[in-house]
């Protein structure tokens, strides 16, 4: 009798790129739901646009590179890029913002470097950085959380869709009336106006942990991230190092001058700290290779984020921090090759 042959091993784990990406999306779902609960359906429209454009861009790029569409189109990596980018944008941002950002991320930051597995920079962060630098005004138009005690004007579902697709607000709304700064921006503005941190936090927008609404979203992200850790989709090194490198300087500066520098809990629950730690910095393709390298990489991102937040020109520094450490990855990899069995170093 004759048989088919193939090289060993003949059993492999039932794992695939699609499964990994799918689980990451699952882990993001609670945070997305919370976001919609607090800030309206705008995010859903952004997600829809971001994902569609990401997939279309991926298809165009694959065709241009003369590669088969399958399995790359459905491996989930383009979807994740679209989702992460959309989550970084204000819910009512005009449609062309997420479209151009998503297309840029997939076409230039991913496929120009060689496609899946070959991009040195995190594509979603490249897209976001390009938008932030090119269209700073649109990226400040955040909404306040939909909480009962905050008396603020809320755009409805129809208004939200109109704003996104028409690129401007309907006649009965103005940006001043409906927008509200994010907790990080609010804190920054207050501190620069001379208020102490305690006075700044007296604003009803802040809860005990951080910005209200935002703290729930960040907790959901933390939960999703921990779930990914348990499933061993991501390792603890990058999230731990990044959060520690945000928390420790924050705690130190807070101890030095409690009035001028927000503390650990604020920084950890504000902005993109959690999203960055568990979903953005852990993007394996652009991160360091060895565990020691990952610790350095995560710590670098956390530290740079804190520095930009506290002394830099932008309210949140996660995107730029990630991109800067992406550039440092080859150097980190070169100097953190682990010792092989039987070798002395």
């Amino acid at each position: 009798m004759t048989f088919a042959t193939s090289p060993a091993p003949h059993v492999i784990a039932p794992n695939s790129v699609r499964r990994v990406m799918g689980l990451v999306l699952f882990a993001l779902a609670p945070a997305i739901v919370m976001h919609v609960v607090f800030f309206g359906v705008g995010l859903l429209v952004q997600l829809f646009l971001g994902v569609i454009v990401a997939l279309v861009s991926e298809a165009i790029a694959l065709k241009l590179r003369r590669k088969a569409l399958q399995p790359f189109l459905t491996d989930g990596s383009a979807i994740i890029t679209g989702v992460l980018l959309a989550m970084c944008l204000p819910p009512l941002a005009p449609w062309w913002l997420v479209v151009s950002g998503s297309a840029f991320a997939v076409l230039l930051a991913k496929h120009l470097y060689g496609g899946l597995g070959a991009n040195p920079f995190n594509p979603a962060m490249v897209g976001y950085a390009v938008l932030l630098v090119s269209f700073p005004a649109q990226l400040t138009q955040w909404l306040p959380p939909q909480l009962a005690d905050l008396q603020l004007l809320r755009p409805g579902v129809g208004d939200a869709c109109y704003t996104i697709f028409m690129g401007h607000l309907p006649a009965h709304l103005t940006w001043d009336a409906i927008t509200s700064p994010t907790p990080l921006t609010s804190m920054r503005n207050s501190l620069s106006m001379g208020l102490t941190m305690q006075e700044a936090q007296a604003n009803p927008m802040f809860g005990s942990l951080g910005g209200r609404g935002w703290d729930w979203i960040n907790l959901c992200i933390l939960g999703g991230g921990v779930w990914l850790l348990v499933l061993r989709i991501i390792r603890w090194h990058i999230p731990f190092a990044m959060l520690a490198a945000i928390a420790i300087p924050a705690a130190v500066m807070n101890a030095v001058d409690p009035g001028a520098y927000p503390g650990m809990t604020f920084h950890l629950t504000a902005g993109a700290s959690m999203l960055g730690a568990f979903f953005i910095a852990t993007d394996p393709i652009s991160a360091a290779t060895s565990n020691r390298g990952k610790l350095m990489y995560g710590a670098g991102i956390g530290l740079i984020t804190y520095v930009i937040r506290t002394w830099g020109g932008y309210p949140d520094g996660v995107a730029f921090a990630v991109l800067m450490m992406n550039a440092a990855v080859p150097l980190i990899d070169r100097y953190t090759v682990p010792r092989v069995y039987g070798h002395t170093r």
Partner: protein, 485 residues
């Protein structure tokens, strides 16, 4: 306290089904095919010719060089042919085999049992080599040269490897259950040959019956030198380097041997084969083979005469049960997928798995590496398979060498966990000889170029000297003409 194995995998063992029944000795087959190169090192040299009558246990091929092993007839009969035949191991094409037809006489050479204690250690190593003994753990390394290298003035530490970590294989388990005394006898012989003062038998903790049998035998023996140690069941805890680290806490140096750190490791089956040779005068002409998989009707462990066609093993195990996806020699992680079942059982054949699709999980389409790092977490040698993969693709010899490609034990753990389903183990298997060959041929090309340029330069120098002489002559002639004429 056993030092923890780095990485590794917890895999379903699938060993229960083949350990339900006791060992069965198969009758001698009608024909045996004995490859001359079924061990690591140089092929043996045939000592018989076509038409000769041979007895069971007769020497039919002699060890050729330092690293080689002799071969003995596993049945009595006539040498039908000495010709190339397909063989079940990684070679480019068929190997020369001695084919013997059974004459039904079942006549054997009689070799007297010897008192091993009477031998001096060096001579005992030679005598063990005369029995054609090779490592029965799967690598088939000739035992005599291994023992010679292991001999030291203060005696090495001996380790017997009964871990058997790879899924499906259970031949060592059954050997330990039923022939524990023989194994320990082999341990005593090896201790004498190596002047070792300590012997540790390593057993994985998924073999409680085997472990208690070994402990009972050891207790009855009252040999202080022999210790039984249990290790956690993780694949590949049974790799030679991994076992040595588990017992001694030391690491075998890269591009070195266990004897460099005063350790020698042998499979329990090898020890039993040595005992059989010394005590019964029977050289290595049979071994236990696990025949298993959902694709055979009656899985079990068979004691098989070397050279028996594998199809016969399947027949004696109730035949095939269903449409076979792969026939593996070895386990599911490192076993070789055989193209057919008419191949002979060789010294390295520890297991035959007739696998149905549900026994395996074959890889799908290969995707690009997403640098997830699962591979380096799983690697027991602490390599970075991800980096090795990138550099193997770009043929960067220097980087592959510095990252430790030659240290890879090809266990397949990295392959197993890769979400992009990259055939990493196969890539590294292919890259190793390619690395050696490329380094050698680059060296040769460099030498050839240097010789060519040296020759060019020499010819130019000779030509320049000739021209200079000619110019001088011309100058002298014109001076002569001017002054003379």
């Amino acid at each position: 306290m056993t030092p923890a194995l780095h990485g590794g995998l917890r895999l379903p063992g699938n060993k229960q089904r083949s350990t339900q029944k006791p060992l069965r000795l198969l009758p001698a087959p009608a024909q045996v095919v004995l490859p001359l190169d079924q061990h690591a090192g140089a092929a043996a040299i045939a000592q018989v010719k076509v038409g000769d009558r041979v007895l069971r246990g007769q020497l039919i091929a002699r060890a050729d060089s330092e690293i080689s092993a002799s071969l003995h007839a596993s049945i009595a009969g006539t040498v039908r042919a000495i010709e190339p035949r397909p063989v079940p191991y990684h070679r480019n094409g068929p190997s020369i085999c001695i084919v013997i037809d059974n004459d039904g006489s079942d006549a054997a050479v009689s070799v007297a049992a010897v008192d091993y204690a009477a031998f001096d250690p060096r001579a005992l190593c030679e005598y063990i080599g005369n029995g054609g003994i090779v490592g029965l753990g799967g690598a088939a390394f000739p035992t005599a040269p291994k023992l010679r290298r292991g001999q030291r003035s203060d005696g090495p530490q001996l380790i017997l490897n009964g871990a058997e970590c790879e899924p499906w294989i259970s031949c060592d388990d059954m050997l330990m259950r039923e022939h524990a005394q023989q194994i320990l006898r082999g341990a005593a012989i090896l201790c004498h040959a190596l002047q070792a003062t300590r012997c540790t038998v390593v057993i994985e903790d998924d073999k409680p019956v085997a472990e208690s049998a070994m402990r009972a035998a050891q207790a009855a023996l009252h040999d202080e030198r022999i210790v039984i140690q249990s290790v956690p069941t993780i694949y590949p805890a049974g790799g030679e380097n991994q076992v040595i680290t588990a017992v001694t806490g030391l690491e075998v140096p890269a591009s070195g041997l266990p004897s460099d750190i005063g350790v020698l490791c042998h499979n329990v089956g090898t020890a039993a084969a040595i005992a059989r040779w010394i005590d019964n005068g029977e050289p290595l002409i049979r071994r236990i083979v696990t025949v298993t998989g959902s694709g055979v009707c009656e899985p079990g462990n068979l004691e098989v005469w070397l050279g028996t066609p594998m199809s016969e093993l399947i027949v004696r195990s109730g035949g095939y049960a269903g449409s076979i996806a792969r026939l593996l020699m070895g386990g599911s992680m490192m076993g070789l997928a055989l193209p057919g079942d008419d191949l002979p059982v060789v010294k390295a054949s520890n297991c035959l798995v007739a696998a149905l699709p549900e026994d395996l999980h074959l890889r799908g389409m290969e995707m690009p590496c997403i640098r997830c790092g699962n591979c380096s977490e799983a690697c027991p040698v602490m390599l970075l398979p991800q980096q090795l993969h990138w550099f193997a693709r770009s043929d960067d010899c220097a980087a592959l060498e510095s990252l430790g490609l030659m240290d890879c034990i090809e266990c397949g753990c990295c392959d197993y966990v890769c979400p992009s389903q990259i055939p990493l183990a196969q890539r590294f298997r292919e890259a190793k000889p390619a690395l050696i060959e490329r380094l050698t041929s680059r060296q040769q090309a460099l030498q050839a170029r240097q010789r060519y340029e040296a020759r060019d330069e020499r010819l130019e120098r000779i030509e320049a000297q000739r021209q200079a002489k000619l110019a001088e002559k011309r100058k002298a002639m014109t001076q002569n003409n001017q002054s003379g004429g």
